[in-house]
């Protein structure tokens, strides 16, 4: 049996969760087993049964006072208990902050090998091998998991959704956890609203020192808004506090793999490229024709950001108007 953690965000399943369920379904298909999704916290029944559409056979719902807020030690305990109860051989999670808090704890509880940042389905010809990104995007590693039970945290935006014509059966469970299991206590959660989280964004507009100062980010935000994109930045820009650290992509920042990455005024140092080189399509805009980014890009415009951006923004506006 394949167990998948169906992470919700304020009662909704994000695309990364549906990807994890689809991934679990693919794994289950190849070894002839079934998929049990585990949802923790408050989610409407209709949304739970809809996980069947993405491949879940059953959905175990844990929704009581002790799991109202995310507490890693509590959620992990519930997942470990359910994995043992259902004799799960493979546990799938999404490689989000939440998923990454849980995957290692679940693995330790099950004495299971664990790989995070997985970007391939398992190869089972010769052992059980999955691929992951290493050296912050500079390379890939094929990792063999040598234990009977395995835990995989899969990278968002990597697997396509497969749909099935079924509805998942909902099973209510308590997960064997109570309020007494929570040692850490969430005090306050502040979510950035109306913005697309960088790690989940399919399009990212990123800018560097070429923007000359934080006051010029209006154009970047406008373009991102038009393209439904998240905004990102280079290391020097976050070091100078022009933009928050949370936007810094690169080797010591966040590694992302959107469908489209547009880099404006970023030269393309090796550390930056490491964090973005898995993007499907890369566009580099830089006034220096020798900028290393052009070697890593699919499309390039050699020109000043202040000249190029207004033209692109105009074109994006026109495209949006035509689409409406």
């Amino acid at each position: 049996m394949v167990l998948v953690f169906a992470e919700n965000s304020d009662g909704n399943f994000k695309k990364s969760t549906l990807e994890a369920v689809s991934y679990a379904a693919e794994v289950a298909k190849s070894n002839g087993s079934t998929v049990v999704a585990v949802s923790i916290g408050k989610v409407e029944d209709s949304k739970l049964s809809e996980l069947g559409k993405y491949g879940a056979d059953k959905v175990v719902q844990i929704n009581h006072g002790a799991v109202e807020a995310f507490v890693a030690e509590v959620y992990a305990k519930a997942l470990i208990q359910l994995a043992k109860q259902h004799d799960a051989k493979i546990v799938v999670l999404s490689n989000t902050y939440t998923g990454k808090s849980l995957a290692p704890r679940v693995a330790a509880g099950l004495k299971a090998a664990v790989v995070s940042g997985v970007i391939s389905l398992p190869e089972t010809q010769n052992g059980f091998v999955v691929r992951k990104g290493v050296f912050s995007g500079k390379a890939f590693a094929d990792v063999q998991l040598n234990t009977e039970t395995k835990v995989l945290a899969i990278t968002p935006n990597t697997f396509t959704l497969t749909t099935f014509d079924k509805s998942a059966e909902i099973i209510i469970a308590d997960g064997g956890v109570s309020a007494a299991d929570a040692i850490s206590k969430p005090v306050e959660v502040s979510k950035v609203t109306g913005k697309i989280p960088l790690t989940e964004a399919e399009v990212v507009v990123s800018a560097g020192r070429g923007m000359k100062g934080p006051e010029n980010w209006g154009m970047i935000e406008e373009l991102a808004d038009l393209l439904g994109a998240a905004t990102a930045c280079s290391k020097p820009v976050s070091d100078m506090h022009w933009r928050p650290h949370s936007e810094h992509v690169g080797q010591t920042g966040i590694t992302i793999k959107p469908n489209l990455y547009i880099a404006v005024g970023i030269s393309g140092a090796i550390q930056h490229l490491a964090g973005v080189s898995s993007s499907k399509v890369i566009v580099a805009i830089n006034k220096d024709p020798e900028a290393p980014f052009f070697k890593a890009a699919d499309y390039g415009i050699v020109g000043d950001a202040f000249e190029v951006l207004p033209k692109i923004i105009d074109a994006a506006k026109k495209m949006k108007a035509a689409a409406n």
Partner: protein, 245 residues
């Protein structure tokens, strides 16, 4: 207050990554190794905490003798003592088990790691340690203060931030904003030479996962340049040719 900081020895961020032995081993020739940058933040924060409210900071590394320059650097930055568990850090579970084995008898109040190492990018050791030691684990923290046996923390969550409190002991992993790294001064470097660095042998050398091969990303097919006066065409190309918007 006893703090343990787990450090990893990783290739410098400017390293051009290549492999040897039919793509099964990382090529260390000419590579400069450093303390994993996130671990350095964890170490600095640990020092800030003990400087304020007293205590000691121990660093632990799972590695062979070649990691000692990084361990000495951690001592130069200010750690009181160090422990090297003499084994190749094969996978995260193995590393965490070794550290847990050592930490169990030492009664640390707080264990800090980096959010992930910049070579294997696992981000697993903190959570593994938490479960193995049966204590809470808080990932990607951007702030931590300790007061009267309770830690007040802030961490990154998907799409936002969370403030939380947690009774010690606990393990937490350092995210970028936690603090600024500290550069060792001459006195620190001199003192580091005589600070205790204990080498212990690993216990039960079981490994759970192993890297069987490496691969480099496929080279890009070459950039297609769009003349600056036709910059507006980019949107059209991304829509109709690349089909990504």
């Amino acid at each position: 207050m006893k703090i343990l900081v787990c450090i990893s020895n990783v290739p410098d961020t400017t390293t051009k990554v290549t492999f040897t032995d039919n793509n099964t081993k990382f090529n260390t020739a000419g590579v400069q190794f450093i303390i994993n940058p996130y671990d350095e933040l964890a170490l600095t924060r640990a020092l800030e905490i003990t400087e304020k409210s007293g205590g000691t900071v121990t660093v632990v590394n799972v590695g062979l003798a070649d990691t000692e320059p990084s361990i000495r650097k951690a001592l130069a930055i200010g750690a009181n003592d160090a422990v090297r568990i003499n084994a190749e850090p094969v996978d995260a579970f193995f590393v965490a088990e070794q550290i847990a084995q050592y930490a169990k008898n030492e009664q640390f109040d707080l264990i800090l790691t980096g959010r992930e190492s910049i070579d294997y990018n696992g981000g697993l050791v903190a959570g593994l340690l938490g479960e193995l030691l049966n204590i809470p684990s808080v990932n990607v923290i951007t702030a931590i203060d300790v007061d009267n046996g309770v830690a007040n923390l802030e961490r990154d969550i998907d799409g936002g931030r969370e403030k939380l409190t947690c009774k010690l002991p606990l393990v937490a992993s350092a995210q970028k904003e936690l603090t600024e790294p500290r550069i060792p001064n001459m006195r620190g470097i001199m003192a580091a030479r005589t600070k205790p660095l204990k080498v212990v042998e690993p216990t039960s050398p079981q490994t759970y996962a192993a890297t069987v091969g490496y691969d480099l990303p496929a080279a890009k097919g070459g950039v297609k340049l769009i003349p600056v006066e036709q910059a507006d065409q980019l949107i059209n190309i991304l829509h109709n040719e690349a089909k990504v918007i």
